[in-house]
């Protein structure tokens, strides 16, 4: 399904750090890809003259991938909020021109929240030959947790609308599910 003018949100900022889902097994596992580019201003902000994708934004990319997975598992009824980064280990940097996959697996999921194991890998880009084997491609491993805030923070009021899963995010999933039918 291609985006149409009337479904497009107003000109708000889109802080979407994944480009596309390439695998989505409801309630189990999701894999998204993200291209790191010179055109993203924030990649220039960490080190002068050495643009990289920052580790914190890589965690955010994983949280977006995993957040969609956790949200979809319960029909997007919950407000799914990143609540804890239990562990995050980084093995190599991601630079403009690199493409990474964000592979999220649900370890546990219940009324209160979910725990996720996430693996980030570099996609092999022949003929650049930066990635020689599996060990080379491993960028990061992390354990993250999500809270279903409506169920956990009783007594606090949140907007009724699900502000977590905006149209832009849901479009990512629609794009994945309709990938085979899109013709341009």
């Amino acid at each position: 399904m291609l985006p149409t003018a009337d479904r497009r949100p107003p000109t708000n900022m889109r802080w979407i750090l994944i480009d596309k889902f390439i695998d989505f097994e409801s309630g189990k596992r999701a894999v998204a890809v993200k291209a790191c580019t010179l055109g993203e201003d924030h990649n220039h902000d960490l080190y002068p003259d050495f643009p990289i994708m920052s580790h914190s934004l890589m965690v955010e990319s994983m949280a977006q991938t995993a957040g969609m997975l956790v949200g979809e598992a319960r029909g997007f009824k919950e407000k799914v909020i990143l609540a804890k980064i239990g562990r995050a280990t980084f093995h190599r940097v991601v630079r403009p021109g690199n493409v990474i996959t964000l592979d999220a697996t649900i370890d546990q999921l219940n009324d209160a929240g979910a725990s996720i194991t996430g693996i980030v890998r570099l996609v092999a880009q022949s003929p650049l030959a930066e990635v020689r084997d599996d060990k080379d491609s491993l960028v990061a491993e992390m354990e993250i947790m999500f809270s279903h805030i409506d169920n956990n923070l009783s007594g606090l009021q949140f907007p009724k609308d699900n502000f977590v899963f905006t149209e832009s995010f849901l479009d990512l999933l629609r794009t994945y599910r309709n990938a085979t039918t899109v013709e341009i």
Binding site: G86, D107, Q108, D111, A112, M145, S147
Partner: protein, 128 residues
Amino acid sequence: MTRDEIQTKVTKVLVDALGVDEEEVTPGAVIRDDLGAESIDFLDIMFRLEKEFGIKIPKGEMMPDNLATNPEYVLNGVVTQKGLDLIKEKMPHAADEYESFKNDPKLESMSKLFTVNSIVNYVESKLK
């Protein structure tokens, strides 16, 4: 599984979930006050216990549900006699901690019921 084995696994769970040193995880250590757990950490601990021991922890089993928001059980920040009775009945794993808590049953002190010891007791009862 022996109590020692349970204790060792519970220690591992707490070290992983809270980033504390093994030496800090003594039987009497209070999960929130001594080991620095915040609310989301309790969910993390429960997930890890379920995984480590292959058990299921139903909602409200480690601690009675909605106790703090029910005026019958908690009034003006103090746990009522009815509330105390409920804790005693539903949390046999925290029987030792309950004995000192009941003398000054402030709601804010309820976290003292959750010690390493009470978690080991709970797991032990689940594995029986």
